[in-house]
């Protein structure tokens, strides 16, 4: 899925007044994804949400490719990522979870920067910057020219990035990117994700998550595991000559 929807949030005040109460009533665990154009805005949002009852954690969007400023500009500089996370860390007692962009050369270094700045966990990956062209009109299919690519097309890259980050940090990882089946969930867990998120698949199948839970349960039972944590990071890399980790391929 290639999208240029952007962030159609209703603003933090209306979110707290209109969206949060029904979620609280249903005892949902609410992780609020926030995005700002300055470090100060991120910190201010974090402070406001810390006072709102019913928020379990904050995810920092430092990776949206569809907004003009803020967001991804923090996620593409190690110093920027560090500064945003550190500022939010000082502003809130809530768990802080920066969501990393895959549009960088070495995503693990960003996970490390986030951990050093006090992040409680990291989410990865956001969408890949991408483009599609209508060959009949020779115009970009998106009026923004570029958009963010998600869905099954990106899953193997996301799995690789989760694996790389698992080697780099000790904090928990939420893995995501193209999960469509329970096997995809298991793959992310084995690669090193402590939890997963599912986005695009909900648009295709609104009943996807009961199916994923069902399949995950069946997998755990089939392999004799009592809990999800038993399979996290259990990828078995076959022993090869000098190294146990795969090398980056340079072309």
């Amino acid at each position: 899925m290639l999208n240029a929807i952007g962030l159609q949030g209703i603003g933090v005040r209306r979110f707290i007044d209109e969206r949060l109460p029904p979620l609280r009533d249903q005892r949902a665990v609410v992780i609020v994804n926030i995005c700002g154009t300055t470090v100060h805005e991120y910190a201010e949002l974090a402070r406001i949400l810390s006072d709102a009852p019913g928020v379990a954690a904050l995810e920092l969007n430092i990776s949206c490719p569809n907004i003009k400023e803020g967001g991804i500009t923090f996620g593409c500089s190690l110093q920027g990522a560090h500064d945003v996370v550190a500022a939010v860390r000082r502003a809130t007692p809530l768990p802080v979870i920066p969501k990393l962009t895959p549009n960088v050369t070495d995503v693990a270094s960003f996970a490390r920067a986030a951990e050093e700045a006090g992040a409680d966990a990291v989410s990865l990956v956001n969408t890949f910057l991408a483009m599609a062209i209508d060959v009949e009109t020779r115009r970009p299919r998106l009026s923004n020219v570029f958009g963010g690519l998600s869905g099954p097309a990106i899953r193997p890259i996301a799995v690789r990035m989760v694996y790389e980050c698992r080697q780099a940090v000790r904090i928990p990882i939420m893995g995501m990117g193209g999960i469509m089946t329970a096997d995809d969930v298991v793959e992310f867990l084995i690669a090193g994700a402590d939890a997963v998120q599912v986005g695009t698949a909900n648009f295709v199948d609104p009943f996807i998550w009961p199916k994923l839970l069902d399949g995950l349960t069946a997998y755990l039972a089939r392999h004799g595991h009592g809990a999800v944590r038993d399979i996290v990071g259990t990828v078995e890399i076959p022993d090869r000559s000098a190294t146990t980790a795969p090398q980056r391929i340079s072309t």
């Binding site: 099954p152 295709v204 609104p206 009961p210 199916k211 839970l213 069902d214 069946a218 999800v228």
Partner: protein, 322 residues
């Protein structure tokens, strides 16, 4: 063993099972807690049916009607509602596409057994729908969206369709005629090759007015011309509701003609939709906050539409794709 274990052994293949899990009470485990959070969403969920293709009637090189077995959707659908469809095989586009429900199919006893889609080849999915063979399956999620309001029996109802925009009017015409409301269909297209099923509507007792831009059937010109004449001639005391579906320019013209004469309209917008469920925000349209309000806001046409009062739509701010 509770976490995940409490769900073990319960197949979650259907909405009913999912709802049962939602209702299940397990104080120990965390997962059902998160499932409970979605209880309200699940309760109002549409049906996802792996519908068997019963027939594919190719009306021309562009248009076809696919009949599908889907009793759960057919029994629940109201005039103007839509389904999100996709072929469930590798290589099919990932996202579903929205289609108006066309005819309701019924068995000999009158029970709904399925529905049909009126399709015109324009893109990848509509070409695939044109090529469907009986025996194939189409994944259908629905019914979705806000239906047309069915006019009071005492008044009159006019339907204005442009080409494939005819689709939502089969169910509306049935509902109108079932309660004895006099109904007229104004049906326009580029040529006779864009007009089908006029006889189907006539057999229901609907008066049909045709127009084609090339004059190959009915009046030559746009369908808004006879509409405008009849609007002007209609006694002011006659209650009237006008429903329109077709190209954006046609719907806009209908809404503005009607508004100038103080008549109410409902238009069925057809923006690009990613999910049909309010999740993706790709189908937002600008809508005035009140009948006379200057202020407008973007609303998701899958949830708040696709049917909107014509005088609420901010026509000059609709994206070109609409």
């Amino acid at each position: 063993m509770c976490t995940l274990g409490c769900l073990a052994g319960q197949p979650l293949k259907s909405l009913e099972t999912a709802a049962r899990i939602v209702a299940a009470d397990c104080p120990d485990c965390q997962l059902p807690g998160s499932i409970k959070g979605s209880q309200a969403i699940l309760r109002g969920m549409p049906a996802d049916v792996d519908a068997l293709v019963l027939s594919n009637d190719r009306l021309s090189e562009a248009y076809n009607v696919v009949k599908l077995a889907a009793p759960a959707i057919a029994a629940a659908v109201r005039p103007g509602q839509f389904v999100m469809v996709r072929e469930d095989h590798a290589g099919a586009p990932l996202l579903r596409r929205p289609f108006s429900v066309f005819e309701i199919l019924r068995d000999a006893a009158g029970e709904p057994t399925g529905f049909s889609l009126l399709n015109k080849q324009v893109g990848v999915v509509t070409r695939a729908l044109y090529a469907l063979e009986p025996g194939a399956h189409l994944q259908c999620l629905g019914p979705l969206g806000q239906p047309f309001s069915v006019a009071a029996p005492s008044g009159a109802a006019w339907m204005v369709a442009g080409g494939v925009g005819l689709a939502p009017f089969a169910t509306l015409a049935e509902a109108l005629r079932a309660q004895g409301t006099p109904a007229t269909l104004f049906y326009g297209g580029r040529s006779v090759r864009d007009l089908y099923y006029a006889g189907w509507f006539e057999r229901l007792g609907v008066r049909v007015v045709l127009a084609t831009e090339d004059g190959s059937r009915g009046e030559a010109g746009l369908i808004t011309a006879p509409l405008q004449r009849e609007l002007a001639a209609l006694p002011a005391a006659t209650e009237l509701m006008i429903h329109a579906c077709g190209p954006t320019g046609m719907m806009r013209a209908v809404a503005q003609l009607a508004q100038a004469l103080g008549r109410s309209t409902e238009v069925s917008l057809e923006p690009v939709m990613g999910c049909g469920l309010g999740g993706c925000y790709s189908c937002v349209v600008p809508v005035r906050t009140g009948p006379q309000a200057a202020a407008s806001q973007l609303v998701r046409s899958c949830l708040h539409g696709p049917v909107f009062p014509g005088d609420r739509v901010v026509w000059n701010e609709l994206a070109p794709a609409h």
